[in-house]
Amino acid sequence: MLDFYFSLPLIVRLIIQGLAVIAVLFPLGAACSMAERKVAAWAQDRPGPNRARPWGLGRIPIIGPILGRFGIFNLMADGGKLLFKEDIVPGHVNKFYFVIAPIVAMTPALSTIAFVPFGAYLDGAGRVLPVMLADVDIGILGVFALASLGVYSLILAGWASNSKYPFLGAIRASAQLISYELSMTLAVVPVLLWINAPGTPGTLSLVRVVEFQSQSGFWGGAWFVFVMPLSAFIFLVALFAETNRQPFDMPESEADLVGGFHTEYGSYKWSLFFVAEYGHMIVGSALFILLFCGGWNPLPWLPLSTFVGWLAPLGAWTAHPLFVGILSICIFLGKVIFSIFFFMWVRWTLPRFRYDQVMRIGWQRLLPLSIANLIIYTIAIALLN
């Protein structure tokens, strides 16, 4: 089957891959929104959405009630509602940019996933090969480059909406995203310095980062979160800000800006923003996992290959590339899901920062910290080598 796939012309494969991304990421984003509601409910001692039971599906014994309990049907109903609701374009907006903004939001959210390896399999020679759409050398740079395009959609939406709340939201968004992008990038540099030891061919590939965390030995197997906790911390904080998550959700802050940049949006266009935000979150989480938490390696100091080796007594099938691939993807997804849960956990714990606090943290705390961090690690790496 794989062979058949690889025998297809490149363009067809790309289209299939693209559709697959949409088909996977879109429901995933939607599922995140339901997860958000559920987590919110649990944090507030409620069961959360659990009522929707469509006539047919809800009657299926056992599964129906379980799906209902998890709010899956609510999710479907929400999706259906957003899809079929009247799509209002207010009269006072700039129509072209108003319509294009959600598309601009979706594009980077979906395309960054191409650079993210989400699993690995062992080839015949026992080498670990990544499962990803585009194993390009620029890797992380590509992600950053594309992800930072996301801010344009916010600015476009805010500006095109032609009313004050979206406008304020857009201004906040641009300032905030730019501020935190700096720290974020600077926090990653030590990681890349570390993996690009002198003599080896220089790379920015995320696969390489994971490979580096799957070596043997104490230092080799250590995840970067242990090696460079400060970098990990800065990256995480900046990630919150970049994805507009509480406590950094300045651009939306419904308390003071109604809905921020998407105040004037409704129905399907609005849902695109929503899914894009969750797309960013998913990619961001994945990035964090790859950079600092060992990617698809099940545990620190326990690389995937060793783990698969342990399973070998169960049968030869354990070494089959398909099994290993699925196993690794599951491990990776599990970590991402926990990371997303972590995002929500934070959201329902911390109150929103004030805008000036956001700026102060970004420029006066995080940036100096990340610069210091970079210098120290540079010196340390230079000394080590």
């Binding site: 409910a41 649990w42 001692d45 409620r46 069961p47 659990n50 956990w345 329902w348 911390l350």
Partner: protein, 182 residues
């Protein structure tokens, strides 16, 4: 008035990083996430109504089936949103409760006006009006929210009586008649 300056303790370094606070906050959230929900799935599961709950005001009868309200109209007077409307009436002489003399001819409580304050229950000298455990009021028309006397007695039912003051009064009158007094 003098100005009192309350000294503010400077934040420690740990506090200034927010991190210990954030961690403890997240632990609190986690505790709630794993805790059992406090809510109930309402129409199927019903909350347990605690004693003394102030639900829909109702009229009650005493254990002998006598309607307790004597239409003194104190509740109508005290009701802050003027939800109560009483038409007083006289109890016919052939009724077993004739000695009570007065009873409401009509008694209406407009549940669109009622604010469930319980003042009617508090003021009632006959312990005839009680806010009981009905908490869910719904209807399609305004008229459906006006509980008339019959509905109020249906909702209210019978409550125990600590005094039986009217029964005692009747007994005293019968006793007196027996002994040749008036």
């Amino acid at each position: 008035m003098s100005v009192i300056k309350v000294p503010r303790k400077p934040l420690t370094f740990a506090e200034r990083t927010y991190i210990p606070q954030i961690v403890s906050g997240m632990m609190t959230t986690l505790k709630h996430i794993v805790a059992k929900p406090l809510t109930v799935n309402y129409p199927e599961e019903r909350p347990e109504i605690p004693a003394g709950y102030r639900g829909v005001p109702t009229l009650v009868r005493d254990p002998n089936g006598r309607e307790k309200c004597v239409s003194c109209q104190l509740c109508e007077f005290v009701c802050p949103p003027k939800a109560i409307r009483i038409t007083p009436g006289e109890i016919p002489a052939d009724s077993p409760a004739a000695h009570v003399e007065k009873a409401p001819k009509e008694f209406e409580i407009n549940m669109l006006r009622c604010i469930y304050c319980g003042l009617c229950q508090e003021v009632c000298p006959e312990e005839a009006i009680w806010l009981q455990n009905v908490f869910s009021v719904s209807g399609y028309e305004r008229g459906e929210f006006i509980n008339n006397k019959q509905k109020l007695y249906e909702l209210g039912g019978t409550l125990p009586d600590a005094h039986y003051k009217w029964d005692k009064k009747k007994a005293a009158a019968e006793e007196a008649a027996l002994h040749g007094q008036h």
